[in-house]
Subunit: 337 residues, 2 copies
């Protein structure tokens, strides 16, 4: 086939980043994005000559001199796949619209539940299963990070059980309203939704998670306790076996990464427009306890980490190329090395 | 013996709270407190007619009309025990001064290392061992919380291993300078100092911890994963077996405790001057996973939780009464029920 035609439904935190990534792939063509409000994000779209479709009043856009190509259905008519980047839990409603286009493939994001598509995707874990799938869900930022690390460690040391404590950011950097302040908000469930979500991608893993929200915008932090059947010899060995995966980045406090703020700062200045696609692991935070159980601190850019997986999901669903080829191509195009 | 005479060296975050607690005990007499700077905290001391000793320039105090009774050594001459509430890591230096008073007993706080006294105290865990001890350390807020919960659970279900993820507050409420902002700062070590510290009190427990700092002042949060030899039947059973301990408080989101902010707010309005002496456990956050492993969220008032233990430590070291009698007396005097 020629280039895969892509529409992005929703041009917000994730949609904008996926759009940028699509523009960098030579086997994909961005048909356009949808937008509900004519706000400042359209300046960015206009500059990049991205076509705008709208699901709301066209006049409001035209009054502000933004050209609108049509509505969501007009966009869907022209595309092979839609990436649903609309707000969380809009998936059920949107799927009804998408179903009106018999050949359309759909990729949802991790805010939707597994049941919506019955297939949850992570590049490393189940790329091959995506072939022929019409509907898929790229799992959330936290789940994507865990899938990468767990599947990587599982290659070397069989995991007996993972226990994950998630410290979530309270709001995204571009959000000035929705946040707790000066306090800790536990998510009152055990396990939290994260560990069952990992098992939608890696069904045979034993994992339990707890989560809470801290008043910050700069990334999520996780504290991981991982028990193995085959025990690692040294933390250095574990680091070596993690860092060979380009989507896992080992960072060091010696380099000045003392908090998530420095990681975000680095990702702005490294030509990636603030996007840290890799899951970050602090070198000095990796250790083995007396049972050779692994402890580690990781950091996750909630806005960017799912972007490479979304690109791979398109290739996987259309059978464009094999897993490793797609991962390498995406990595190269997004400057992940 | 008559009332135990007490001097508090340091009238800061912990010292002020210990002073208040001493004033409520009929078997203790507060000789006075030391202060290095004549700041607003002295207004509180003056109002309570607490005698001030100083380790610095007496004139600076007198210029501001604060009466100074003498220096640290003058205070130590008059007392049976000194509670060292000076800044972290001043213990080694201070101990040299205390040793000049052959009959003086000393209680340090958890900022000091175990090696300073070779005896670390928690009321529930090792009250009886404190008898005849000259020097003791009341363990830190986080360790005190863990000791209470672990020893309580160990009575009912033998703990196989505990994994603890600590989300630390970045500064105390009265501190406007020392804090990270808007980011997560992992403590880059595994295990963090918390789990070895618990074993200074409960030597036979298997425990590992990871910790980080979040930008907030309202309490520490912990996420606990606890594996047992004897498995609990239901979360409700675990709650029942925890809440029978008055120093463990089960709180509920139904009552409006959604974050640590509400707990702090409650502790201000309940006549305790903002002090939450109990370790708080969210009822709805307690669960058992498929292995009957316990998960829970707890919150710890870093300023207050060690106060009841400090009071008990005095009684234990002077052999004033038995463990349960002291705990009950302290609880009654501090309105812990």
């Amino acid at each position: 086939m020629g280039k895969v035609k892509v529409v992005i439904n929703g041009y917000g935190v994730i949609g904008r980043r996926v759009a940028d990534a699509i523009l960098k792939q030579d086997d994909m063509e961005l048909i356009g994005v949808t937008k509900t409000k004519p706000d400042f994000r359209l300046l960015e779209a206009k500059e990049k000559r991205i076509k705008i479709f709208t699901v709301s009043d066209k006049n409001a856009f035209e009054e502000k001199n933004y050209q609108v190509e049509g509505d969501l259905k007009d966009a869907l008519k022209e595309t092979d796949v839609v990436i649903d980047c609309s707000p969380k839990n809009k998936g059920v409603e949107n799927l009804e619209v998408y179903k009106q286009f018999p050949n359309l493939k759909v990729i949802f994001q991790g805010g939707e539940s597994h049941n919506l598509t019955n297939f949850s995707f992570n590049s490393q874990c189940n790329y091959d299963e995506a072939k022929e799938k019409k509907y898929a869900r790229v799992v959330s930022c936290n789940t994507t990070a865990l899938c990468r690390i767990i599947s990587q460690l599982n290659k070397f040391y069989k995991i007996k059980k993972a226990r994950v404590a998630v410290v979530r950011r309270s709001a995204d950097p571009g959000n000035s309203k929705k946040s707790i302040i000066n306090s800790w908000e536990p998510k009152l469930e055990y396990p939290s939704h994260h560990s069952p979500d990992v098992t939608t991608v890696i069904p045979d893993i034993k994992i339990s998670s707890l989560a809470g929200i801290a008043p910050m915008t700069a990334m999520h932090g996780h504290m991981l306790f991982i028990e193995f059947y085959n025990q690692p010899n040294t933390p250095e060995e574990v680091i070596k076996n993690l860092e060979c995966n380009p989507r896992i980045k080992i960072i060091s406090s010696e380099e000045g990464f003392s908090t998530t703020a420095q990681i975000k700062d680095f990702s702005v200045s490294n030509g990636r427009k603030g996007n840290m696609y890799e899951v970050c692991i602090w070198k000095e935070g990796i250790g083995l306890d007396e049972d050779s159980e692994l402890g580690m601190h990781i950091a996750i850019d909630q806005q960017a980490i799912v972007v490479p997986e979304t690109i791979d999901a398109i290739r996987a669903m259309f059978g464009l190329m094999e897993k490793d080829e797609s991962i390498n191509k995406t990595n190269a195009n997004l400057n992940i090395s």
